[in-house]
């Protein structure tokens, strides 16, 4: 491999590693960050009080923020596995295919984050008796969005990525 090809390959390697862990930890932390942000920014709760209330309700019946985090993280675990097996097993010498896959997975991840974020914010800002049901349907919705987001990313990659030579 040439120096340029090697540089691209090591960039892709780093991107894959980061993608796996950002997807996994980001999926878990996303709802918790939103919960804290809504308390602090929307409801004007002081940070220490918001943090205390959050930790208190992590395992509290009727709240179970831990379960909410895990439910939201499930589709992101699947995304992490896809990154690992789909992007991680791409041929290192064919950067074009790897970048297309990376853009597809990135687009899937961004779509999932946007939908999950929107649902979490909506449930918190407009609470009602059935609001919590959204948390149970969210993983199914995110898993449905994943292939569409991936397809969109691949289509964008095909249209805009220049032909890269290894």
């Amino acid at each position: 491999m040439t120096d340029i090809a090697q540089e691209k390959s090591s960039r892709l390697r780093m991107m894959t590693r980061l993608g796996v862990w950002i997807s996994l930890l980001g999926g878990l932390l996303l709802p918790w960050i939103i919960m804290l942000a809504v308390e602090i920014l929307v409801r004007d709760v002081p940070v220490p009080r918001a943090w205390r209330s959050f930790t208190l309700h992590l395992f509290a019946p009727g709240y179970n923020f831990f379960l909410v985090g895990v439910l939201t993280a499930l589709p992101f675990v699947i995304l992490a596995l896809l990154i690992l097996f789909h992007l991680g097993t791409a041929a290192a010498h064919n950067a074009l295919i790897a970048y297309r896959r990376a853009l597809g997975l990135f687009s899937a991840g961004v779509s999932m984050v946007l939908i999950a974020g929107w649902i979490h914010i909506d449930v918190l800002i407009h609470p009602d008796a059935q609001g919590a049901l959204a948390y149970f349907y969210l993983p199914i919705l995110l898993l449905t969005i994943l292939p569409f987001g991936y397809g969109l990313g691949r289509a964008l990659a095909k249209a805009f990525l220049p032909r890269l030579s290894s």
Partner: protein, 348 residues
């Protein structure tokens, strides 16, 4: 060159394996975090939280202890103190609710503490007493006569609280149903609305209740009229499909207490659900065993089939033992301590 750099793929097989291992480790860590933060393991921490200055912390701690159930017995003294001495009514009621899942005798002690307060000269104390007794649900059955008296208090808010408490206790159904029917004719619209809400969502309809609710369909207050429609549209005591669905709910741990409480209020009409109730006399939760005994007792002679199981049963909880003994007497004497049979088609 490292192994990853010399690999034909972006990640080498070894690196993929290591990532997978890391992923499993993260999931394992999450599982351990959950395991260490729930169940009996977290009871000492929750007991400490019951001593917190912030009422919302004490409330959440009590709710979590209630979910732990009998394994949180070591929290009983602190919960008793919160139920009876705390300055926050919400903290009182959440501690009382927790106690009914942990220790029925302690829950009854909360009731005994508050019953004399139903006659306190301070109306606010009487309101709090109603709310806390009501939060104990069917465990507060012995407080029904005192609550029936309070349901005629001069203070409308107290009458409302008393009706909510009576509906939440639910047994024995005849006097509670009668008090709620009286509430439908109360001079205060708040009390009338509360009474009709209980018929809509909590207590089964008696024939008298249907007769009183029917004219309310034309009430000038649209809210009351809608609630009356909801009450009259719900399944009736003699509805076999309703009994069957309650019987099925007994198989689900999260709905078991609700289903048993409903069946206990249906009396002999609930006897079709007897087979799945009998095994619940051996449930690990004393509240479930208590409700099973109350349901069987409410069926009277129709529950003869349960007599051998009741006579054989040696319960460790004195409140459950007393309920079983009452159930045996009710079956043997053929007495019916439940709502009147109601099968006739009602006006819609």
């Amino acid at each position: 060159m490292t192994a990853a750099e010399s690999s034909p793929n972006i990640l080498s097989a070894r690196e993929i394996q290591l990532h997978l291992l890391g992923l499993v480790l993260v999931l394992g860590l999450l599982g351990s975090w959950y395991w260490f933060s729930t169940g009996a393991r977290v009871v000492p921490t929750l007991i400490e939280l019951l001593k917190d200055d912030d009422p919302s912390t004490r409330i959440v701690a009590a709710e979590q202890l209630g979910q732990v159930g009998p394994a949180a017995r070591s929290a009983v003294p602190q919960l008793l103190s919160q139920a009876t001495q705390d300055g926050s009514q919400h903290a009182n009621t959440t501690a009382a609710i927790a106690l009914k899942w942990i220790d029925l005798t302690a829950a009854r002690r909360v009731m005994t503490h508050f019953v004399p307060r139903l006659h306190d000269s301070d109306v606010q104390q009487r309101r709090i007493a109603c709310a806390v007794i009501g939060s104990l649900g069917p465990i507060a059955k012995p407080a029904v006569p005192a609550l029936l008296a309070v349901a005629h208090d001069a203070d409308a808010l107290l009458r409302r609280n008393a009706l909510i408490a009576l509906a939440s206790i639910g047994i024995p159904p005849p006097p509670i149903g009668a008090a709620l029917v009286d509430g439908l004719r109360d001079s205060s619209s708040l009390v009338r609305q509360t009474a009709v809400t209980q018929f809509a969502f909590t207590v089964p309809l008696s024939q008298e209740a249907v007769a009183s609710l029917t004219p309310m369909l034309n009430d000038l207050d649209k809210g009351i009229a809608t609630l009356a429609r909801t009450a009259l549209d719900k399944p009736r005591a003699g509805d076999a499909a309703h009994i069957e669905s309650l019987g099925m709910m007994l198989g689900h741990s999260s709905a078991r207490d609700y289903a048993l409480h409903q069946l206990a209020q249906l009396g002999p009409e609930a006897s079709d659900a007897l087979p799945p109730i009998i095994p619940l006399l051996n449930d690990e939760q004393p509240l479930i065993r208590y409700l099973a005994a109350e349901s069987i007792g409410g069926m009277g002679a129709a529950a003869k089939q349960a007599l051998p199981a009741l006579q054989r049963h040696q319960d460790s909880d004195p409140v459950v033992r007393a309920a079983i003994s009452e159930a045996v007497s009710a079956i043997e004497s053929g007495a019916v301590v439940s709502a009147e049979p109601f099968t006739k088609e009602l006006p819609r």
